[in-house]
Symmetry: D2
Subunit: 342 residues, 4 copies
Amino acid sequence: MTHKIAIIGASGYTGAELIRLIATHPTFELAALVAHTKAGRAMSDVFPHLTHLDLPELVRLEKVEFKDIDLCFCALPHNTSQKVIATLPKSLRIVDLSADFRLRDAQAYEKWYQTPHTALETQKDAVYGLTEFYRDQIATARLVAGTGCNAATGQYMLRPLVQNQVIDTDEIILDMKCAVSGAGRLLKENLLHAELSEGYNAYAVGGTHRHLGEFDQEFSALAGKPVKIQFTPHLMPVNRGILATGYVKGEPQMVHETLMSAYQNEPFIFVLPFGRTPSTHHVRGSNFCHIGVTGDRIDGRAIVICAIDNLTKGSSGQALQNANIMLGQDEAAGLMMAPLFP
Amino acid sequence: MTHKIAIIGASGYTGAELIRLIATHPTFELAALVAHTKAGRAMSDVFPHLTHLDLPELVRLEKVEFKDIDLCFCALPHNTSQKVIATLPKSLRIVDLSADFRLRDAQAYEKWYQTPHTALETQKDAVYGLTEFYRDQIATARLVAGTGCNAATGQYMLRPLVQNQVIDTDEIILDMKCAVSGAGRLLKENLLHAELSEGYNAYAVGGTHRHLGEFDQEFSALAGKPVKIQFTPHLMPVNRGILATGYVKGEPQMVHETLMSAYQNEPFIFVLPFGRTPSTHHVRGSNFCHIGVTGDRIDGRAIVICAIDNLTKGSSGQALQNANIMLGQDEAAGLMMAPLFP
Amino acid sequence: MTHKIAIIGASGYTGAELIRLIATHPTFELAALVAHTKAGRAMSDVFPHLTHLDLPELVRLEKVEFKDIDLCFCALPHNTSQKVIATLPKSLRIVDLSADFRLRDAQAYEKWYQTPHTALETQKDAVYGLTEFYRDQIATARLVAGTGCNAATGQYMLRPLVQNQVIDTDEIILDMKCAVSGAGRLLKENLLHAELSEGYNAYAVGGTHRHLGEFDQEFSALAGKPVKIQFTPHLMPVNRGILATGYVKGEPQMVHETLMSAYQNEPFIFVLPFGRTPSTHHVRGSNFCHIGVTGDRIDGRAIVICAIDNLTKGSSGQALQNANIMLGQDEAAGLMMAPLFP
Amino acid sequence: MTHKIAIIGASGYTGAELIRLIATHPTFELAALVAHTKAGRAMSDVFPHLTHLDLPELVRLEKVEFKDIDLCFCALPHNTSQKVIATLPKSLRIVDLSADFRLRDAQAYEKWYQTPHTALETQKDAVYGLTEFYRDQIATARLVAGTGCNAATGQYMLRPLVQNQVIDTDEIILDMKCAVSGAGRLLKENLLHAELSEGYNAYAVGGTHRHLGEFDQEFSALAGKPVKIQFTPHLMPVNRGILATGYVKGEPQMVHETLMSAYQNEPFIFVLPFGRTPSTHHVRGSNFCHIGVTGDRIDGRAIVICAIDNLTKGSSGQALQNANIMLGQDEAAGLMMAPLFP
């Protein structure tokens, strides 16, 4: 049995990552690859690391026969994504990797993304795509909204703690270290090698990063009251990987046990033994998530650290995991490759 | 059907790379992982990127029941490897990743490795492991000697040219750029991040690199006369990848056609369209080899460039490819993962 | 006028950095360079980037005529340093870059360094070397104990805030990102390029890093009560630079003004306009310190970020600045070179 | 005594590097900094690593009073540079860092740069700026044309060999490894960190790189006959540094002696002992050039390797060296800082 798959936005990093993963998938077949300015070019030209694959040429959206497609990944920038998805057949099952359908509240969308939402009807169909916590809804959803890579990282380490009330939700600090591929294939001065390598800095300091919209929505819902965390991202001179260092108030062993218990049956999430610290080196290129817990020297405080690959578990791997659920496949199909180290 | 596999030297980079690859192999099962100083430790402790795998603990060599093993990879340093292999059962099929059995001439071995060969009987059983050129012998060999990573790169780009006499064999220059993982997990000052990153330099200049032993052996055999190339390796601040730039005298289009023709049916070797240049970015973490040919502005001279991942096609991937052949499996089993980019 | 300078421990990174800086100093002359295992070698051999300088050969300690020396830098590992300094003439003025004389309390030393202090008499002579806060005592000191690089970073951003009581001293979190040269030229597996580049992780999590001894000593003295901060360092795949992200409770504008006021006359410390964030890119290779303050979206919380070069302002530059004061020179002599960017 | 200096094109990397160097110059004062799209901004905003300097604001060209300027550096892209310089006062002394006045033959310019030269009159005034070989002419020149960074590297290692006829000029191969800052602060996809780091590739293969125009002009003039070399540049994931590996036919000891003799009195050029190989690590951020010579195992062939920092000796450092000569200053003023290592 084969599932025909389309990718809209195949010329960006998340699109290429989807192709890398699907290349080894037992039942998914890439039927259409859509791009805009790069339409008409071969994928091996746009991404020469895919030279060995027999892939369809990049085409413009209007060339795709969506009636033959079983599932469509949409890997476009936010704002563009909602406009494109609004034009797709209502029967088409979609995994969207953009930010456009993550926030259930249109006002929150407008606040964080500084532009009105123009596809509110479609928003109603959307299910939040953090797989481990929305599996049942994802299985039957028409549209799954993949989480932000930073938002996924923070939620993996904190959701069970917020839900089980083992930490003080007024005192959560997330210090995040983010790889550059999270910014996409954009031509911006601060993403140049000469500007970025050999150093690091914070950005969006003070609670201005857009992924806070997701944190606020999800943690508040879990806690049953408004939860606002502090979150500072830092841009690292590395291509893949997010490391989130969380400072929380709660009993460290309880924090560890709560996470162990929450994830004991999850295939991709590993809680390390108490006192061990994860590294982005050890999840790079994979769909795995490593979480570590350590007690601080100050009683009642714990440090929780979480590492994922932003392009895989933080984006395209998560999207494929969701697609597997939507199409009734093994959730881990195409996703069990080991991290690349060194 | 399952093949039971042992890896001796599982705590080094090539050992870890074998495990990464075999983890997705349809019929290979890791039955024994052997280490020396790290015996008794869990692989997830020595290489945390393998945490998700259910692997046997590292054990000392004497603990392994080799009668249950279908094939053994030996990923030890040269000189150690020959001593260990000499103690293994004669019936055991072995893929050796060290330099110890690559040179058929014991004097050549002593010249390049500055130590006498002590397992000359075993040497007689060895087949040189450059898969694409020794397939038939590998299929029935008891012992396959994996090539050096630099030696593999240079041979992929040059063997068809030497064999078909389309270039002047007295005037071959290979300028090679090599990633640091080729040096292994050794504690040497020049391999420290602070020493190595942000710059580059040549090493083993002037025809002193050991892989010249392999070049001399193989090219002379192909040409039917002594062939000595010039070869200068450079250490790059990168973890994976070899890029070899070859300066040859021959008609460029003929050079390109000869390579195209030689590799047209090979699953892992891609000759790019004339005038395109390969990049290590595009083979990273994979078993693929990209080769490009360009004509120089001076008539009758061509530049041939070849890119592989030193740990995969240059070492562990090649070893697995050979093991597949030895055990009658699909040669590409476990080896079709796409490169990791970015 | 010339001052004759000796460096003990000239074969490590901080020793080499001292030489780089002193090379352009108007009055300092390098009279003796001391090493242990590398004694007898030329500096241009041990550190080829110093080839252009006419430097004395590395010698063993016993070869140095200290009576001709005006000031001695001691750039040895902790524990070794106290033993060596105990053997030097009591009249010799010394700037020590190790941890051995930073902690005034011998029990604190033993707690954090896991070894008893064996030069308690010498400790009494030592002045803590954070230049901007100990200038007067440094001017007349026989022995100045350079601060830890992390300890310097954290103190520059926090001392005025603790001293002026504008933040809650029970709720200080320092999340620090540290370059690898801070670990020195040691042969350790985790410092290898292949292990370290392309990823990052925390270490010494939970309040176990030794520089906490300095934070506790200094902040408690300033506050007049015990102050314990939370501090988590992270190892970055970069050679130079410390970025400390501080989460504090206090009024952000007041935090900014306090820092502006404290450093308005300092030649090396720059407080950026409110809301700007510093980067290690912009202090690399220099003795400058950049500090930024931003208000969080949660009222009454501020994020303070500080960037220095660990080898310069965090170690050898600070040491030279102190030596200038000790010898009555312009404090900035040899230290005004601009950062290297890109 | 003070010399008033203007920099046109101060917002690019070579402009910023000029400012870094001039900041420590004893007699040069930055009187005007010119930019186009960034006019009106503070340098500390465009290049925060220059925050500590008291610099004039960026202004548009028409704002500069050139009659007060003693010397002007022009750090613009080629083609733009000739147009701007044509508008400057004829009495103004200029060091141009672009390619526009390097080639004495207008047809050669048009061939390599694919655009006609439009300032042929100005070209007549230009002196080629490879300091060590054009000192006398530079001293009195109105306009000095700084060399290309690759062209400088190749000439330092080869000029004495071509001039003294110790190598075969028909058989010169230069394999060059180039840092990314050589491409400038341009927004191009292949210069992004995510595209460039962790790998490498050749570019402009086959004799198409523009700096060949300079090689052809200079080597042919030296040899008294047409000389065409082979030259392949490679883009490295590093910010600064060029390493050129030269394969030549000639007696290695003679090659070494010729270079030793040529540069024995040069302050910036160091020929290493025979058999040693230079590294870009050891010239980074400095105006020094290291050259090494090794004999190949094949008699009569030598490998010559040269390392410089492309932004310093390859561009802005060279420009300052020339300006020193033009204004009768110590040639090394502002240029004796040691390389930054690690």
